[in-house]
């Protein structure tokens, strides 16, 4: 598996892990079910309410009409008997009325309010104060009616009738309960239907969403096979077209990238070769010239000694250049482990204090949290810290202060190396990490390049802040455990 393929797999896994989980209330399925349920409830509620109202009105009206018909019939049937005070006939009328459904009481009164007949025999003979107008009173469970008996336009008596509305109330309650049952049933049926419908719709959407997530993770070979012939099916086809296009473009980009990388590599090799040649040419010329001089027999002893000294110095310089270059070229893959960074830095600081060039330099190490576990390759990071500290020491040939700080920042730790030396010229700042670029005559220009390569393998980079004649701060961050 190539690095790029590995990166893609990691991105896919990360995308899967980072896929947001929707709350049930935000899902299309829930909203569809809720909408259908609300529509069902509202429509059925309105329908049932209207139906119950109409039926209620019809039932009430039926009872009212029946009561009015009955009391009118009583008035007509009892007129002659009332005028004749024929109590037997009147009793026959009230006796028949008594056995009719919903009748609670019925009575026939003469013009004085004298009860001549009643369904309740105990009331016959009593006097009642009755209104002179036709009335209708609705009680909680009763309907009371009063009808005047009139002959030739004059009132000659009154019929009272009281009917029970319990039967009506129970019918209305039954109608209402039936309506509520219908609403509930509609809710259940509608919700189930909406659920099934949402399943059909969102099943394909879920497939699409999973495919989109995989694409987001870098897997551009994903395709969906939706059997739907609706809008979702069209969306699936559009998605496949888009994925194919993305894959094609990605492959083109990858190809272009490789070409460009190859070109950059060649350019880098050329540049590197030129740099090496440049670095080697001067000491090598000195060595060659010195050897030529030594070959002369007439060379004075003093010149011979000087040539030998030059030969030693320049050959050592060539050796150092080649060693540094080998170090730069041989940087291996990092093997990250979890370890205390403070201990490592303390160890390197101890070594740098013993360096001959650091005799006039004060080395301080500040560790905010100690121990501070982080992920790094100990050998490589030791070299990084050594190079940075040595750079700082060499930037202060007349002595100074070298500060190393380890500061925890959330899930990372920042390591900074600060000196109060001469600083880095601005024109070198942006290319100081390139190979063979250095601000010192004795430097090879490979130290910071090695640092930068190692840090890149740790997933971080070197940051440099420098001010001429004030000092320089070089820092990087590592992932903490």
């Amino acid at each position: 598996m190539s690095v790029m393929e590995l990166d893609r797999a990691e991105m896919a896994a990360a995308a899967e892990q980072q896929a947001p989980r929707l709350s049930i209330f935000r899902t299309l399925r829930f909203r569809l079910v809720l909408s259908v349920a609300i529509v069902h409830a509202v429509l059925m509620g309105a329908f049932v309410w209207s139906a119950v109202n109409k039926q209620s009105e019809a039932i009430r009206s039926e009872l009212q009409n029946r009561a009015h018909s009955l009391i009118t019939l009583m008035a007509v049937a009892s007129t002659n008997a009332l005028l004749a005070e024929d109590l037997g006939s009147l009793a026959e009328v009230t006796g028949r009325v008594k056995h009719l459904p919903d009748v609670i009481e019925g009575a026939i009164l003469d013009v004085r309010g004298h009860v001549l007949a009643s369904t309740d025999p105990h009331e016959v003979g009593h006097y009642l104060q009755v209104p002179r107008a036709r009335t209708e009173i609705r009680g909680r469970h009763r309907l009371r009616l009063q009808e005047q008996i009139r002959v030739a336009g004059q009132r000659v008596g009154t019929v009272l009738l009281e009917m029970s509305t319990r039967h009506v109330q129970s019918e209305l309650a039954a109608t209402r309960d039936e309506g509520l049952l219908f609403i509930l049933l509609a809710l259940v049926v509608g919700s189930v239907a909406a659920w099934v419908l949402s399943l059909l719709i969102t099943r394909n959407l879920h497939t699409l969403m999973a495919a989109v997530r995989r694409i987001g993770g870098g897997n551009l070979g994903v395709r969906v096979d939706l059997q739907a012939r609706d809008e979702v099916g069209l969306l699936g086809n559009a998605f496949n077209t888009m994925a194919e296009s993305l894959q094609r473009i990605s492959e083109q980009v990858h190809s272009e990238h490789e070409k460009r990388t190859d070109a950059e590599r060649l350019a880098c090799v050329g540049e590197l070769s030129a740099s090496i040649a440049h670095e080697i040419r001067n000491p090598l010329s000195a060595v060659i010239n010195s050897v030529k001089l030594l070959d002369r027999t007439d060379l004075p002893a003093s010149d011979r000694a000087q040539s030998i000294a030059i030969l030693n110095t320049e050959s050592l310089r060539l050796q150092r250049i080649l060693n540094d270059f080998l170090d730069f070229a041989r940087i291996r893959e990092s093997r990250l482990i979890e370890d205390d960074i403070c201990a490592l830095i303390g160890e390197v600081a101890g070594l740098i204090r013993q360096h001959p060039q650091a005799a006039a330099v004060t080395v301080e190490v500040e560790c905010e949290v100690c121990p501070c576990p982080a992920r790094y390759d100990p050998d490589q990071l030791r070299q990084v810290v050594w190079n940075l500290m040595l750079n700082a020491v060499q930037a202060m040939p007349d002595g100074g202060e070298l500060q190393v700080r380890i500061v925890r920042r959330g899930r990372s730790v920042r390591i900074s190396v600060t000196d109060n030396g001469c600083g880095i010229p601005d024109q070198l700042l942006d290319k100081i990490v390139r190979p063979f670029v250095t601000g010192r005559k004795q430097g090879t220009g490979l130290g910071l390049s090695i640092v930068q390569r190692i840090l890149m393998q740790h997933g971080t980079t070197l940051s440099i802040v420098s001010h001429m004649n004030v000092g320089t701060e070089m820092s990087f961050e590592l992932e903490v455990v």
Binding site: T79, A84, E85, D86, L128
Partner: protein
């Protein structure tokens, strides 16, 4: 029902009860007498209740129990009411009080005699105690040698209207009644009937009051009744009653000769 009406009251004492002999159907009688009771209410400043009875016997029992303050009845029954504490104040004016015998206009009967009665003749009366319609017509026929109970089949129909409708529908051949009842029938019924006999006159139908009524009330009643013909409203009342000439003052002595 006391609970239903919400207010039971003690017996109202202020009502005067005007009892009318059930000569006709209660509704028809009410149509005739309610305007009169209305006028009496205004004159007496007290409510007057019109009442009748299912039949003559019931009416007379109530008279005897003093259930009526004012009564309208026939001369014969008045003679009994007089014994039970009532006295006459006015009587119907003008028209002689006679009984009549009526047949259908197309009836073959024109003259009543003991020898020309068709066999199986049926005769209808309102009530055995109806003075003009029953008693006077019976006396009239008996005086002419007709034995009603022997020569005819007698039926009683409870009221003058019923007796007249019975002869109109052919349920009987002859009906005993009196002119006010005949005049109160619908026009087509009147035109379908024919009077074949009229009894000699007797003292007219009286209106009597109970003896315990206050004298001022009796005076106001008498004055009202005897002056009905003098006002438009009074004549309207009389129009409903069918007594176009109103009432005149009457005395007990006028009814001394009335006998069953």
């Amino acid at each position: 029902m006391v609970a239903a009406s919400g207010c039971a009251v003690a017996r109202p004492q202020h009502y005067y009860r005007f009892g009318v002999l059930p000569l006709q159907s209660p509704t028809m009688l009410a149509g005739m007498f309610l305007p009169l009771t209305d006028a009496l209410e205004q004159a007496l400043h007290r409510p007057v209740e019109f009442v009748t009875a299912p039949n003559f016997a019931s009416f007379m029992r109530r008279v005897r129990r003093h259930e009526y303050n004012i009564i309208y009845l026939n001369p014969l029954l008045y003679t009994r009411a007089r014994r039970w504490g009532y006295h006459v104040i006015v009587k119907v004016a003008g028209e002689p009080f006679t009984g009549i015998l009526v047949v259908r206009r197309d009836s073959p009967i024109h003259v009543l005699g003991p020898h020309n009665l068709p066999p199986g003749l049926r005769i209808g009366f309102p009530d055995p105690n109806a003075y003009a319609a029953t008693i006077m017509t019976r006396q009239y026929m008996e005086a002419r040698g007709i034995h009603v109970n022997r020569d005819m089949t007698v039926k009683y129909f409870g009221s003058q209207d019923s007796a007249l409708m019975a002869v109109y529908y052919g349920m009987v051949d002859i009906a005993g009644t009196w002119f006010p009842s005949l005049r109160s029938m619908p026009r087509h019924v009147q035109q379908s009937l024919r009077v074949i006999a009229q009894t000699p006159p007797q003292p007219q139908m009286p209106i009597a009051v109970r003896d315990d009524m206050p004298a001022p009330a009796i005076r106001r009643i008498t004055q009202l009744l005897t002056h009905l013909t003098g006002t438009v409203q009074g004549r309207a009342v009389l129009g409903h009653l069918g007594f176009s000439r109103g009432f005149v003052v009457a005395h007990n002595s006028e009814y001394n000769g009335v006998k069953p």
